[in-house]
């Protein structure tokens, strides 16, 4: 096996990975970015609406308001100190992206333009605020491009289309990772003082998803298999507006520009579910509302979807009702200019022109709030007390800081990856300056190579694609927006059956080495299966409803018993694992505690966990 030696190995080349690469290399570290995709193919590039930062360019805004919205959006499972860091660092991070050349849209004052987004408010929920900094409706694309371009400028080492399949753990320290060079099928070892997981989410566990085919949770699954805990896995966000059946994301920015959700009787139903924020309530609230409307027989054509209407006449009618200034009214050219990609998707895939017809939308599996637990410097922590694993880092969707708690606010994924990618990159540079090399074990990589040989030899009758579709279907039906003991048990037993078939009856058609996507998809299915399993199991154990985790048999949030993060670990072989979940990792409530210490009367405390109302 070829061995590459670099101070810092970064796994994944999306926003978090590239940000970490820039900062670690600026900090003097010799960095290698190892990614299964060319960097510009990463999923950060699909983020549309904006990146939240309290710049106050259009409305009065402060980081503390952003912090409050993040904590409330997370249904109080958010670690409050981390949310404060997120909101404060967001301002300088966005300014820095502009300095790197990111082409944000501009206000008439030549500053970065901002738009409204779900759950983002001024003065602790008083009214919606324009906070999402945007570059048309391709903000993520521009972030990804800008960071990649800066990495080219800084001559960062890239190993494109090298897929990481294992991590090398020696005495509780990470000594590097094992990767397959896709073009040749050869195994490589990346020996590093530090390894940084920025490998994205696992929305492909579900059948209707906004996520790319490549979002198979490789990094989180590898960590789980190597004995690390995963945190808050029961919380997975369904975005309310995916294109019907396809799941392609329609940005919340559509509603930020005035678009509204309409049911089959022509009603703007969010007025009933969230009287104040309406269509811009947090995503979990809106997704549930769509399901409840569907159950009540008010989905369009009774097919489980709603209309998202951004036609100027509709938007302006509601603006007039709300008494908005006429200057805010929109016309076709506003929609064309601000939402070009959304129009393109709808015209291409649906033959629907959103300036003339409403768009058919349904909730789509979108974002993992949980993942590899880290502290605010992206260092991986391995227990409820916050002990750090030397040399291990994680940021972005694959990590759980936790700033998103039980439900992430729109735009905060981009904030998360630039803020914690950056903090982690700096911390890692500092770490590798002082750390020694951990010698590689003699047989490094042998175990995973053998596992791939096992998969490649599969001569059974179950194709990986078929198994994956069955998993996605059961996750959609049983571990989706609404859950009960019964559905979750069903999900767990379906997954067990699929695991049996994966390990005993797998069929691999492609026996070659060069670019064997049949083999890689099979291995990725195994990752998804592990993550689906821990999602269902933690969801079964958490007997309350909070944020994106909605139990119909335990409808209320229960702070007395469940205001805690979950940590789940896997034991035994991956063909027949057992799991252990604990709900004892404390939620950081430091902002609330500070309010109590200040002697603020209860009604003035902003960070006290109370019932969420939008």
């Amino acid at each position: 096996m070829q061995i590459h030696k670099h101070d810092a190995i970064i796994i994944g080349a999306g926003g978090a990975g590239l940000m970490a690469a820039l900062y670690a290399s600026r900090g003097g570290a010799d960095v290698a970015v190892v990614s299964k995709l060319y960097p510009t193919r990463s999923h950060t590039g699909t983020a549309q609406g904006g990146i939240g930062a309290a710049l106050g360019n259009l409305d009065e805004d402060k980081p503390i308001y952003h912090t409050y919205d993040t904590v409330k959006g997370g249904d109080y499972l958010t670690d409050q100190h981390a949310a404060k860091i997120l909101a404060e660092n967001a301002v300088e991070a966005v300014i820095e992206l502009e300095h790197m050349g990111l082409p944000f849209d501009r206000t008439s004052e030549k500053r970065i333009s901002q738009r409204r987004f779900g759950g983002h408010t001024r003065n602790f929920g008083e009214e919606l605020v324009r906070r999402a900094c945007h570059a048309a409706d391709r903000t993520g694309h521009m972030i990804l491009q800008t960071l990649y371009q800066q990495c080219i400028k800084n001559e960062v080492n890239f190993f494109d289309e090298f897929q990481v399949v294992d991590m090398i753990v020696v005495d509780g320290t990470v000594a590097g990772v094992v990767a397959i060079e896709l073009g040749t099928g050869e195994f490589h070892i990346f020996h590093g003082k530090a390894s940084f997981f920025a490998s994205g989410g696992w929305g492909r566990c579900w059948s209707v998803t906004s996520n790319a085919h490549s979002l198979t949770g490789d990094g989180a699954a590898i960590a789980l298999r190597r004995g690390l805990p995963l945190q808050d896995m029961e919380f997975f966000q369904f975005h309310p507006t995916g294109i019907y059946r396809m799941g392609i994301l329609i940005t919340e920015g559509v509603r930020g520009e005035g678009g509204v959700l309409i049911n089959s009787v022509g009603e703007r139903f969010m007025e009933r579910y969230a009287p104040s924020a309406k269509d811009l309530a947090s995503r979990d609230v809106v997704s549930r509302a769509i399901y409840l409307e569907t159950r009540a027989g008010r989905s369009i054509k009774n097919r489980g979807y709603m209309h998202l209407d951004v036609r100027p006449q509709t938007v302006n009618r509601y603006f007039a009702e709300e008494g908005r200034d006429r200057a805010d009214f929109i016309d076709e050219s506003t929609v064309e200019r601000k939402l070009p990609d959304i129009l393109d998707f709808c015209r291409t895939y649906l033959g629907v022109d959103p300036v003339e017809e409403p768009m058919p939308v349904q909730p789509t599996a979108h974002y993992a709030m949980g993942g590899i637990p880290t502290n605010i410097d992206a260092e991986v922590v391995i227990d409820a007390a916050g002990a750090v694993m030397p040399g291990a880092y994680a940021a972005g969707e694959t990590a759980c800081v936790s700033v998103h708690g039980a439900n992430r606010l729109g735009t905060n994924s981009l904030v998360d990856l630039v803020v914690f990618g950056r903090r982690g990159g700096m911390k890692m540079a500092e770490y590798v300056r002082g750390a020694d090399w951990t010698p590689l074990p003699k047989d490094a990589g042998a175990e995973i190579e053998a596992e791939f040989e096992r998969i490649r030899k599969g001569e059974g009758k179950s194709r990986p694609g078929a198994l994956r579709q069955l998993m996605q279907a059961t996750m959609m039906d049983n571990v989706g927006v609404f859950r009960t003991e019964e559905t979750l048990q069903q999900g767990i037993s379906d997954l067990a059956e699929l695991r049996e078939r994966f390990y005993k009856d797998l069929q691999i058609d492609d026996k070659s080495r060069v670019f064997n996507t049949d083999l890689m998809e099979a291995w990725e299915f195994g990752c998804l299966l592990d993550l689906a399993d821990v999602t269902a199991r933690t969801a079964l154990e958490r007997k309350e409803s909070r944020g994106a985790h909605s139990r119909e048999d335990f409808k209320k949030r229960d702070d007395e018993n469940w205001l805690a993060h979950s940590l789940i670990t896997q034991q035994g072989s991956t063909s027949d694992p057992t799991y252990e979940a604990h709900f004892d990792k404390k939620v950081d409530l430091s902002l609330w505690e500070a309010e109590i210490e200040e002697g603020l009367p209860e009604e003035q405390q902003k960070f006290k966990p109370i019932e969420r109302v939008y």
């Binding site: 699909t46 082409p103 008439s108 800008t146 080219i152």
Partner: protein, 247 residues
């Protein structure tokens, strides 16, 4: 409906498949609104797992699945069956070495991109107030079109000049340079124009126009190349694009 696929295949790692060959697959129950990518997945997941292609986002923004579909460069995820008919021929994009089936070696393509300084340069001190650099929305609009590029290579691999000479930087790299040349905040326009006036720069473009219809992001590629040519001829990047004409 039934759809017949004719796919160009090659596997250098399998005896007898080293040389390119055609293989046919038939799919039943195809909906006219299905994406070609979904149909290729059905072939791979239901009939032959060895069919190899790149794909990721599946909605036209990551740029992984550029291929030649019925003779035209497309993203497989952004073209529907009803757009191409019941007989669909799929082959790798042209002008880059084929690794396996529909997968080509993208390294030369990205090398060309890296040649044109595709990154923001501004060596002035940062604004003293710690805030963003200022730019008018009109100035921002000047290069809006070329910021949309996803580096899928549909344009470059549809260009006869690139087919004839693989050293030509190609339309995508010029689009990448254009995005910075016409950004009022950037200071390396001069250097980029110098790079692009070299023999393998913009002058290899013969305005054949294949690149523009090939672009899945609807970038007016030929126009962008024309603007770069004009900037080189006039020796300046100022006054080339009339912002009033954009609106």
């Amino acid at each position: 409906m039934d759809v017949t696929f004719r796919i160009r295949r090659r596997n250098p790692d399998m005896p007898g498949q080293e040389k390119p060959y055609w293989q046919e697959f038939t799919l039943a129950d195809v909906d006219p609104t299905d994406r070609v990518l979904e149909m290729l997945h059905r072939i791979k997941w239901e009939q032959d797992g060895s069919l190899s292609l790149r794909r990721s986002c599946a909605h036209g923004v990551c740029g992984s699945d550029a291929m030649r579909i019925n003779g035209v460069n497309r993203l497989a995820c952004k073209i529907l069956v009803r757009d191409v008919g019941e007989k669909i021929q799929v082959e790798p994009i042209l002008g880059l070495p084929v690794i396996k089936d529909l997968i080509v070696d993208m390294a030369p393509f990205f090398d060309h991109y890296k040649q044109v300084m595709p990154f923001f340069v501004n060596n002035d001190p940062l604004p003293e107030d710690g805030r963003e650099r200022l730019q008018t929305q009109d100035d921002r609009e000047q290069f809006d079109d070329t910021t949309k590029c996803i580096l899928c290579a549909c344009c470059t691999t549809s260009c006869p000049s690139f087919w004839a000479n693989g050293h030509y930087v190609g339309p995508a790299a010029i689009v990448g340079a254009h995005r910075f040349i016409f950004d009022t905040r950037d200071q390396a326009g001069r250097e980029r124009l110098d790079i692009l006036s070299e023999p393998n720069g913009v002058w290899r473009c013969r305005t054949i126009f294949n690149c523009t219809p090939a672009c899945p992001r609807d970038i007016e590629v030929t126009k962008a190349i024309g603007e770069v040519k004009l900037a080189i001829r006039k020796g300046t990047n100022v006054g080339i694009i009339q912002t009033s004409a954009i609106h």
